[in-house]
Assembly symmetry: C2
Homo-oligomer: 413 residues x 2
């Protein structure tokens, strides 16, 4: 195979996770080791940084700080939610990208994100091919939503799942401390798929979990919900409920939308959230109990202090694999995980065509879900338990995490 | 000194912390070692459990599980917010308590809580004395609010402070990830004193903290707040703001109260909370930015996975000291901490009269606070940094914390 000599660039895209920087560490540290790769760049805010020719020269960073990226949450070089223009109407974004890639002789493009990001990477790759520009394009998976096609799971999911389960166990102790009736409703991320909310079942497994778990895979019914909560309250005076932010009623409306007449502009600002408080208030209207709505919000995706060691290692390895495979001549693939065995837990790193990932979604199997509100079945536990094993905290300095500090030297234009 | 032979009882009272059970472990394990103490009881839901003659026989528990209490959050034997009846009008509660103490020959009473709890313990002790019932009454301090008189700090505070600082550092990375303007407002507990919100300064110290910190020690002004946020947004496009739930305007109104016309029954259910969302919406009205309100809610006081080792050890030791001092004949005191030196950090355990603790409050020194919004000065950092050192996580089982499982055998009536 002909060696392809040129620069490599990594972009981070979409909502951050606790381990997206671990993948960055994998890409950077691996890329820096190979002679074919002349320069290693990190795009500032993903694809936008490339369009604007703003990227960091990773060769100028200390190796120690790059290692610390493994335990630094969120996206250290900046993320983006930029959608490329529709190429059939306006190919200026694509032409601009090609010009920048040519100018810096970038021959390796790594994009770390979810399905939208894989779609972006795939489209860029096609355009480059049509214009005879050789560039190896590899996707590195990332999302707490765990909904990427073709891979057993995605980096970021396990750590978020561990956060959800651990924190729910702790809340269980807090929310049951008084001898008075109380209903606590906890809202968990996941707009379309219940993978993350399902992790609440792990706390149930430990006998310290929510009484009810509502996933977006089922239509949400307000009366049924209130009845369910009423039954639990009657039984033990306390109700802890885990809900997905993505719950929708039969009309397809999210919970904040359903109550929009009550909350006027309170939830007008785009992102979901607030459903826990809304439902808590509904419970308070119907039952004479103290209520509390809790939103895990950004905490669940940036809680580095509670990551899974399995997740960190896999995210790191996925980054390294992407580089290795690209150097072997592979292009237009996303790195994926194939589970070989559960006990001992073992995965293989596999290649999944970007095109597939861009257009399909991995759903939570409906047969793993109990009737609405009743949680998950054993196959889900078997699936998720191996993923949340082990700690991998950032080193402490003054009792606080020591996260990576990059110099972020911009490459000369 | 005459040996006092009889049973000992511990009650947990008020809002839980991550380490209140560590104090329980200290009391139980120490009490079980002494011959003078014939039985060791744990009151179910504090004083209420004594009134109702419901207490657990701690002698029936496995020592291993009692050890695990050190790393189990919240109040394992149940807490309470019961206020004893006013003795000048109705002494029935007191007479009932005396009868129960006599019936079980309880001669050692340990109460773990904040100032209200110390007040309760103090009143009971006085009543017992007036009725010639010899009983040694010792308070064990507890509160994330850090507002107890006479002690350098209180068990529970340091772990909550560590949670606040660590989580804000993580949020810093998440909230700055996009190249678009954004304002994130984080709400921290502390109804009257800013001790806990002040811990946000630790994240600032690490260069990864909020831009603005608002403490309840200063009157909150909405226009000033919006101007401050505007200035920060103009400077760097991102604003992260830490606020205390206890902020009050010049009319003495909490933030949710101030906007009660907008939120009708949304915040009608007693406890504070919601201020972050309210302020975030105010910011969104004035500036064209994405906003997010985040409430640390119960998470900040039950996050065992992020406790300070110093805190756990001190809470445990405070429980042991209470027992030792009572056996030495001391009564009507709360265990307190006196700081001997900061480097190396060293404290002495001291005795503080319950009466003092019941009636006074420890304020955050005003001279430690910068002008409103601008955070804390170095003396606060010097004060708090030694307290948050070290990890002390629960052992993991299946990747999740293994908390204590008590048998909770009720003592025979």
């Amino acid at each position: 195979m002909k060696k392809l000599i040129g620069a490599a660039i990594l972009g981070q895209s979409g909502g951050p996770t606790s381990v997206i920087n671990a993948s960055a560490a994998g890409v950077f540290l691996e890329a820096l080791e190979h002679e074919e790769i002349t320069h290693v760049y990190g795009a500032k805010h993903g694809i936008k940084g490339i369009l604007e020719e703003e990227f960091y020269d990773i060769g100028k960073e200390d190796l120690k700080e790059l290692e610390l990226l493994k335990t630094t949450p969120s996206s250290s070089i900046g993320s983006v939610r930029y959608k490329l223009k529709d190429i059939t109407k306006d190919d200026s974004d694509y032409r601009r990208l090609l010009a920048v890639f040519k100018k810096y002789n970038i021959r390796y493009f790594f994009y770390n994100g979810g399905n939208d990001s894989m779609d972006t990477a795939n489209k860029i790759s096609k355009f480059f091919k049509e214009h005879d520009y050789e560039c190896r394009v590899m996707g590195v998976p990332k999302t707490i939503d765990n909904d990427l096609y073709g891979t057993d799971h995605t980096p970021g999911y396990a750590s978020a799942a561990k956060y959800v389960a651990t924190t729910l166990m702790e809340l269980y102790h807090d929310a049951r401390v008084y001898d008075t009736p109380m209903c606590t409703i906890v809202e968990i991320m996941g707009r379309n798929a219940g993978w993350l909310t399902a992790a609440a079942q792990l706390a149930v497994l430990k006998g310290q979990g929510p009484d009810l778990i509502y996933l977006p895979e089922h239509v949400f019914d307000y009366d049924e919900f209130l009845d369910d909560v009423g039954t639990v309250l009657k039984e033990n005076g306390k109700a802890i409920v885990a809900i997905s932010e993505g719950l929708k009623d039969k009309d397809g409306k999210y919970i904040p939308e359903h109550f929009s007449d009550l909350s006027t502009d309170s939830f007008g600002h785009a992102q979901l959230g607030g459903a826990a408080t809304i439902l808590a208030n509904e419970v308070a209207k119907k039952y004479d109990v103290k209520v509390r709505g809790i939103e895990f919000s950004l905490l669940q995706r940036s809680a580095q202090h509670l990551v899974s060691a399995v997740d960190v290692n896999e995210a790191f390895q996925a980054g390294k694999e992407a580089v290795k495979q690209a150097l072997l001549g592979k292009t237009d693939y996303m790195i994926g995980f194939e589970r070989v065995s559960n006990d001992p837990y073992k995965i293989n790193y596999i290649l999944i065509p970007l095109e597939k990932v861009a257009n399909e979604e991995k759903k939570l199997p409906l047969e793993w879900i109990e009737p609405h509100g009743k949680g998950l079945k054993q196959p889900f536990i078997d699936y998720v338990l191996p993923l949340i094993q082990g700690d991998y905290k950032a080193p402490l300095e003054d009792g606080l995490p020591r996260f990576a500090k990059l110099k972020k030297v911009l490459a000369k234009k």
